[in-house]
């Protein structure tokens, strides 16, 4: 089933490449794309913990991304040392996730999805009302701005998220989450607390999203404070997860890379139609290839005989496939 040594080797190699790029890379465009990929990949991976492992579809994920961003930004621009701001943001996000999770996680499936959507939109609109003005880095910081800091922060957050995901995948906690995903009642029958596992998944997922938000706050020069709360971030995260392969570890990262790079390399004349294309691709994935790129790649490798069955890119089968039952 799992080939941890092989997976770790691949991840380590990837990490090495990205670190080198961060140290020697000169092109602003490449660095920007990389940072955006890291952020989306971290956001997507964090969503995957709740949606892919624990099976709870949250449509309000951006709320935690935005919360992490706004707390970090306001404290940092207000004079607090950056690291402290991030820590404070993390604490705030964890508490918020805990508070919001208590009522919301009691709801099953569609009610949960709608509840999180409501939360996301409510928070997004409220922040827009309460903080309408642009948030910009002060002139001094602007002059000293380099890509190095944001690059390695974003990369660091992604590494943390991936490591957490890897650990979860092989841990008892993670298995409990997946048991809840597959059959909540059955899980309860064998002593796995559904609410408890969902809660942990929700808080972990939110916390990591908050960290990704902190990296957004560090990277972005000037933006409207409600932007990181916008539902488009949730959508892009879910898009990346599904296109890459929901429930896998590599999936969200691959999907994020695919999306960010794809969006950047498409000719600019297409404009909004990019969104249309990705939307269509997403729909195709949901209907036809629930395992995303990871599943597609595994099938191809399977057929070519290069790789033994089951030892795919992430070392595991993709989860989250849809059931066709009955009529």
């Amino acid at each position: 089933m799992c080939n941890p040594v092989r997976s770790l080797a691949v991840w380590a190699a990837l990490l090495g490449v990205t670190v080198v790029l961060g140290l020697v890379g000169e092109s602003q465009r490449v660095l920007t794309i990389a940072i955006q990929t890291f952020m989306l990949a971290a956001l997507a991976s964090s969503w995957n913990i709740l949606g892919g492992f624990a099976g709870q579809i949250s449509l309000g994920h951006a709320a935690f991304f935005g919360l992490g961003a706004i707390v970090t930004r306001e404290l940092w621009l207000g004079g607090m040392p950056f690291v402290l701001s991030v820590v404070a943001a993390l604490v705030v996000v964890i508490v918020a996730a805990g508070v919001v999770g208590v009522p919301l996680l009691r709801f099953r499936d569609i009610y949960f999805a709608v509840g999180t959507l409501a939360m996301g939109v409510a928070v997004s609109l409220t922040i827009g009302n309460v903080r309408p003005g642009v948030s910009s880095l002060p002139v001094g910081a602007l002059r000293e701005y380099t890509f190095a800091g944001p690059y390695f922060l974003a990369l660091g957050v992604l590494v943390v998220t991936v490591v957490v995901s890897l650990w979860l995948r092989h841990s008892k906690l993670g298995l409990g989450m997946m048991a809840v995903r597959d059959d909540e009642q059955a899980a309860g029958a064998i002593g796995v607390s559904a609410l408890g596992h969902k809660m942990v998944a929700f808080v972990m997922s939110g916390a990591l999203a908050g960290l990704a938000g902190a990296s957004f706050a560090y990277f972005s020069v000037s933006y409207y404070p409600n932007f990181p709360f916008h539902v488009v971030w949730t959508f892009e995260a879910i898009l990346a997860v599904f296109i890459g392969g929901v429930g896998t570890i590599a999936g969200p990262v691959i999907g994020a890379a695919f999306f960010v790079v794809g969006r950047d390399t498409l000719p600019s004349g297409i404009g909004e139609f990019q969104v249309v294309m990705f939307g269509v691709l997403f729909i195709v994935v949901v209907l036809r290839l629930p395992g995303g790129i990871v599943e597609g790649a595994e099938r191809l490798l399977d057929r070519s005989g290069l790789v033994r069955r089951g030892a795919g890119l992430s070392g595991q089968e993709s989860a989250g496939a849809t059931d066709e039952k009955g009529v």
Binding site: P103, G115, N129, V232, I238, V280
Partner: protein, 293 residues
């Protein structure tokens, strides 16, 4: 102070009528097809734009163009069903809901992006000769166009109820909504019921959009906000129940408005969220729903 409260209450009721109308279409699609279309608000938005352009290009009064707008989005609903949602109906209920949720989420951004591209991001409002007219009852001012919207909402709800209770098609719809297997065994073409029900739901969204363009405003990004309110109304009334949607809508609008006076305007969106959580926690079957769904 009491004038503010009364005016807020009235405004809340008026917008609540719109919430109810939007909820009507959403509940129809969900109740019959067991499909959750979060892009319902985008269909509303497109209907609003259709009415707007019918007005600015051909001078058609929005009440006159209502049936046209309905027909236009009905047609779009047919297309969306055939191309997209039809495939979701293969699955069992749980998977249907999850997949349609994801699918329509994708549709939300596609339609929004297209709208920005073709209509620009500007807010539009239909300004007719009577747009600023209203009448004053005591301390309270009632805008004519919004009141008309509420009236249309009530008429639509009554008409839909009549259709479902009395017509042959309505019987087929109710049978399919309860048990599609049994419905097929009764000789009902379930696929066709799904198609028409979904298209009607799109048409209803369009009607709401038209009235909203007249009484409030439309822009490419309004969709999700309205969908959300509609979802909350559907849950308040009780998933699977068509009756009492307008009432639940009025309730939500009223509570929202009054609470906004209390907590302050910028936080009014949070009120709806809190109402949602409270009702679901205390009375999961909604006001009018059955204990089981």
């Amino acid at each position: 102070m009491s004038r503010l409260i009364l005016q807020s209450a009235v405004s809340g009721l008026l917008v609540g009528g719109m919430y109810g109308l939007v909820a009507l279409g959403l509940a129809l699609a969900f109740g019959v097809l067991k499909v959750l279309n979060v892009a319902h608000g985008e269909l509303l938005m497109l209907g609003g734009y259709a009415a707007f352009f019918a007005f600015t290009t051909w001078g058609l009064d929005p009440f006159v163009s209502l049936p046209l707008v309905f027909a236009a989005l009905f047609a779009l609903g047919v297309v969306l069903y055939q191309v997209l949602f039809r495939f979701v109906t293969r699955f069992d209920v749980e998977t249907r809901i999850k997949n349609s949720l994801l699918l329509s989420f994708g549709l939300v951004l596609i339609l929004q992006a297209l709208a920005v591209r073709f209509f620009t991001a500007d807010e539009r409002t239909i300004s007719t000769s009577y747009s600023s007219m209203g009448f004053t009852v005591g301390l309270v001012r009632i805008p004519l166009v919004r009141l008309a919207g509420l009236i249309v909402a009530v008429i639509a709800a009554v008409a839909l109820e009549w259709l479902l209770r009395k017509s042959r098609f309505g019987h087929a719809v109710r049978a399919t909504a309860e048990d599609w297997t049994r419905a097929a065994l009764t000789g009902i073409d379930v696929g066709r019921v799904y198609l028409v029900a979904f298209a009607i739901s799109a048409g209803l969204a369009a009607m709401a959009g038209s009235l909203i363009a007249l009484g409030y405003s439309v822009s490419p990004s309004i969709g999700l906000g309205w969908t959300l309110k509609a979802l909350i109304v559907v849950v308040l009334a009780g998933l699977g129940s068509m009756r009492g949607l307008v009432l639940a809508g009025l309730f939500l609008g009223l509570i929202e408005s009054l609470a906004a006076v209390w907590v302050g305007g910028p936080y009014r969106e949070v009120v709806a969220l809190v109402v949602f959580i409270l009702v679901l926690s205390l009375r999961p079957q909604g006001f009018f729903g059955r204990a089981h769904v």
